[in-house]
């Protein structure tokens, strides 16, 4: 019988960087890039199963797409509690969205209260001419925060699955490590 792990994936970053677009493209297997901008109110939740390569196991990702603002509704607050993995998103055409990432990362870390796997996603790479955030700067930031770095375009559906797969696999690896510790502690 295969194992199914469950993880809460918190997606954060400034408004309009493409958090909802990334989530929807991934969730719909590329069938749906939201054309009009509709502001996320509070939090939206969707669930997606990810198969772990070379096993029959899966990670069920509960993806919480947050609004890029502080919100005070109970549901939105609850969504922030005990994240398992995090995705921090910026828009490569918006310097401010990059500057804000430090605060987003620290806020999630404070909520997690323990190590959680994370990715840093530079979105909208299709807008080449308007790009202002350089790759090496973004990569350096990610490294400093212990996050895996990805570049993608939700619009062109380029590399959008990779960060989610990375998170699912990192979480799966964490489970295997923890189970080994449990075995050792008990013997």
């Amino acid at each position: 019988m295969p194992v199914t792990l469950r993880a809460k994936c918190l997606i954060v970053g400034d408004s309009a960087v493409g958090k909802s677009a990334l989530t929807q493209v991934f969730h719909s297997d590329g069938a749906h890039f939201p054309k009009g901008y509709s502001m996320t109110v509070g939090v939206e939740l969707c669930v997606k199963n990810i198969s772990i390569p070379d096993t029959n196991d899966t990670v069920e990702l509960y993806i919480y797409d947050t609004a890029g603002k502080e919100t005070y509704s109970d549901y939105a607050q609850q969504a922030w509690e005990h994240p398992s993995v995090m995705m921090v998103v910026m828009d490569v055409t918006n310097e401010n969205s990059f500057m804000a990432c430090n605060r987003w990362v620290e806020r999630v870390k404070a909520k997690a209260g323990q190590h959680i796997p994370g990715v840093f996603v530079a979105n909208k790479t299709d807008l080449e001419g308007r790009r202002v955030v350089e790759r090496n700067k973004a990569e350096e930031f990610a490294k400093g925060k212990g996050l895996e770095y990805f570049e993608c375009s939700a619009k062109e559906q380029n590399n959008t699955d990779a960060p989610f797969y990375y998170l699912a696999n990192a979480y799966y690896k964490l489970y295997q490590e923890r189970v080994e510790v449990m075995k050792t502690i008990a013997s």
Partner: protein, 139 residues
Amino acid sequence: MFDVALAEAGAQVPIATSSDENFPPENIIDGKSETFWATTGLFPQEFIITFTALMSLEQIKINCYQVKGLAMERSIENEPVNFEPMCEKELCPSDASLQMEEFSGENSSAKHLKFVIKSGYDHFVSVHKVCVNGMASRE
């Protein structure tokens, strides 16, 4: 007085919210603390132990790892329904060894005990053994 939560004594774990066949919930009632049930992510996590009959509970002991908020509930019905809260506790962290907690059963009766793990010190927690000292209730 016996350990009435042993598989050998006829106890069962009919419901558990996580299942990895390598670490099944039956490991909780096999009498060994080396074997365990592992949770597979997120909280709360629950399991139910069903006794062979209505029992009068004297003491409940649990060996676990990385468990934080733990609550216990009991049911006197034949089926595992209509649970009533018994007690709730925040366990101390213990990185290098198993946590061992004891609760008084206060001689209340139960056919089923539900354990609710509300939070953990890690993403995944384990329950190695539950021991329930009790005897068949005279009612």
